[in-house]
Amino acid sequence: MVKGKAVAVVTFPSTHYAISAERLLAAKACAYTIIPTPSELSHQCGIALQISFDDVQSIGILLKESRIRFLSHRGTIVDNRLYLEENTML
């Protein structure tokens, strides 16, 4: 049985958006992990946020309210490593 944890990877068009988002989520006590943007998504800026898949909607609303531009991608954590599924932009 594979133990996979569903996550979302949130990417940003610029570092400034990424840092603003991190500041916002920290202020709102949201759970997130700062990660390097996976290389398949490297057209985005280098800083990404990994969040629980369950939080995609609520965090998405927060970011939109603050006019932070972002994209979300579905992923899975298996054995402490992140795997993104292809073509799963949320």
Binding site: V2, I19, R23, I34, I35, T76, V78, N80, E85
Partner: protein, 199 residues
């Protein structure tokens, strides 16, 4: 040669993809993945194409069988998080600051968080991590770096935290990960290892 057959039927997306990807990462030359829906086999087909494998798809009574065959000895596989190549010799990571580089604090702090995340998700762990001067904040204040250091410590990495620095910054009681160390141990560790990476 062994030909693994992975039954991924009734497994939710993206588990079939993840299982196939693990086989590719382990350089399994030939293997079969059984799936029960079209999107799953379409994803596997794309994965094969991106990974230097050919994929033969057969429809069965219970779904689809995707046979992966290695086309090349060396796969040009674009891993999302390709870990750094494993070092032959043990190494030490010396963290002298809570940020990477000089400049804006928020940027430097996030660079450090990302670096430790990359180390902990890779397969080339240092033997020891030494945090010294403001680096001790990584083990006392920042939940993101504390999480990474804890995972590394759980995996067997020795995390040494400068006791003098903890005392200086009044953070002795705030230590969340690692063991309090002194300059004798730190100097010994640095002299003992030929390879020391430092931020």
């Amino acid at each position: 040669m062994e030909h693994p057959i992975i039954d991924a039927r009734e497994k939710p997306c993206p588990i079939p993809f993840v299982l196939a990807k693990k086989q590719i990462e382990e350089h399994t030359e030939d293997f079969t993945v059984l799936v029960d829906n079209e999107p799953a086999y379409q994803n596997l087909k794309k994965l094969a194409a991106a990974s230097g494998y050919s994929a033969q798809i057969q429809q069965t009574e219970q779904g689809y069988s995707v046979v992966f065959s290695s086309d090349k000895a060396v796969h040009d596989f674009h891993d999302l998080q390709k870990p750094p190549a494993k070092s032959d010799e043990p190494w030490v990571l010396l963290l002298k600051s809570d940020v990477i580089g000089q400049g804006e604090f928020e940027l430097g702090r996030n660079l450090m968080r990302m670096y430790l995340y990359t180390v902990r998700t890779g397969n080339d762990y240092p033997r020891e991590i030494i945090v010294i001067n403001k680096g001790i904040l990584l083990a006392t204040e920042d939940i993101h770096t504390i999480e990474s250091l804890k995972m590394l410590e759980d995996a067997g990495v020795v995390v040494r935290v400068c006791g003098t620095c903890l005392d200086y910054y009044h953070k002795t009681e705030a230590l969340k990960v690692g063991t309090v160390s002194n300059m004798y141990e730190i100097a010994h560790s640095l002299h003992e290892h030929k390879k020391v990476l430092s931020w």
